[in-house]
């Protein structure tokens, strides 16, 4: 099976700060892969480097067999799309949902925009009643659904998810996670998902990589994690933390 995303020795340097220190990774086509770590671990930077939003100092990124240069072309964005963490910041404040969804179609010259927008809204469970609302007329969960619809409307094969539910309430999080699983199954998407929450990553992903301080700590399968078969202390710490507070007295 070919790799959807192959990353080799990736370094990202902001000014003089090394955010990623030679990380390698392979995500198989159709797989859901998780990146786990705390703030400053470089997990989001890795995602942004793939999307072309972070300065790559060295190393290579290959997407669907094509090696990426410093600039991404339009064809790349039809393969790879991203959903951001903050649903309040990722939608333009002066545009209706309709306008937000039309933009990618206009950029890529799709003719059947009307139909696609309808379909995209239906797919994320919003329906046409939401089509002409501004983002301030939507709740956090609805905004994130719009962001997902926007990412899907170009029919990409790879979706980059940057903590897509961390700003949402638990009950809304469940709905959005279910939606993501459903679209992945239906469209046979490849997911690369970033989260600080081990439980979410084990729920969503088959394999995962634990990161710390810009480096990979450990590669695991979800099953290994569930069985607590981890080798690194750091991963064990994260696992313990995910089980809630334990009083030591």
């Amino acid at each position: 099976m070919t790799a959807a995303i192959a990353i080799d020795g990736l370094e990202v340097i902001f000014d003089r700060f090394r955010a990623l220190k030679g990380v390698s990774l392979e995500v198989r086509s159709g797989e859901s892969f998780g990146l786990v770590g705390e703030s400053g671990s470089g997990k989001s930077t890795l995602l942004r480097a793939i999307a072309g939003l972070a300065p790559v100092a060295s190393g290579s990124i290959t997407v669907n067999g094509k090696k990426l240069g410093p600039r991404r072309d339009k064809a790349f964005y039809r393969e790879v799309q991203m959903v951001f963490q903050d649903p309040y910041g990722s939608l333009h404040p002066r545009q209706t949902v309709d306008r937000l969804l039309q933009e990618p179609l206009a950029i890529h010259g799709f003719a059947d925009g009307e139909k696609r927008i309808q379909r995209a809204l239906d797919e994320v469970g919003l329906g046409s009643g939401f089509r002409f609302r501004y983002s301030h007329q939507l709740s956090g969960g609805q905004r994130q659904r719009v962001a997902i619809a926007r990412a899907l409307i170009l029919e990409p094969s790879i979706l980059l998810l940057d903590e897509p539910t961390s700003a949402l309430d638990a009950s809304v999080q469940a709905e959005v996670l279910n939606l993501l699983e459903e679209v992945r199954r239906r469209r046979k998407l490849t997911f690369l998902m970033v989260s600080h929450d081990l439980a979410i990553v084990t729920h969503m992903c088959e394999r995962l990589m634990v990161m710390q301080g810009g480096e990979a700590v450990e590669n695991l399968t979800a099953a290994q994690l569930v069985a607590h078969r981890v080798t690194e202390d750091y991963t064990r710490n994260l696992l313990r933390a995910s089980e809630g507070f334990v009083r030591t007295a």
Binding site: S39, A170, A174, L177, D197, V226, R240, S242, G244, R247
Partner: protein
Amino acid sequence: MSGGPNQQRSMSALLDVDDLRVTFPTRSGLIEAVRGVSFSLGRERLGIVGESGSGKSQTGRAIMGLTPPQARISANKLAFDGIDLLAVSPRERRALRGKRIAMILQDPKYSLDPVMSIGRQIVETLRTHEKVGKAEARDRALAMLEAVQIRDPARVFDLHPHEVSGGMGQRAMIAMMLIAGPEMMIADEPTSALDVTVQLDVLGILDRLVSERGMGLIFISHDLRLVSSFCDRVIVMYAGKVVEQLKASELGRAQHPYTRGLLNCMPRIGFERHPLPVLDRKPEWAA
């Protein structure tokens, strides 16, 4: 969840809240953020859990007297240690705040003064509430920093808030809030901005200090699981009302469908459920 040693819990209530209401006037009419909340707090750890818009934070703010001025607060009773909080003068209220009641907010970045060193902020807090000399205040501040497990208190004392990490900032915040020896503390999402591993350290510190000093703690959070592992008792809020009050240890036997839904919908390691159960919100919950 654990059965730690039972705290010396006095039965007289530290805080009494009866039918608390907080209303905000807006362009489109009145919005009731809190709609008749009643509970009492002893020297225990009480968790208030709810999702955004449930009124949990506004409840905490109303007790602290930090509600925005345009809002209206009413209650049959809002008393701290027998003092009617709605009747006292703003001055007395300020004196209570910090001295006897303390509050920790989510992000230390916004609640610490950015241009004053951490040590000085703690010293100032102490000296506004107690008559102590400079040298003594400094010693007590250093001791307090040590109590929140800051390894090198003398160094951190001279640092400014932007020079420390989020976890360190939150510890400094706790130190500042506890220096005057309050009897009650309100912690509004105190660890939500922190990394998970740091989160547990901070909670551990908070837990130890609260039980050592026999304080009453109100822990406000969206995370039902975290709250139930930390608190003795949990209040679940929905749409400005209390839908359920129960002992943390009996969370598994929660009655209200909202509480159960909230517990169920979070993914857990080792419990595969695809799709996750979602909340089916009933209008009568908010009624």
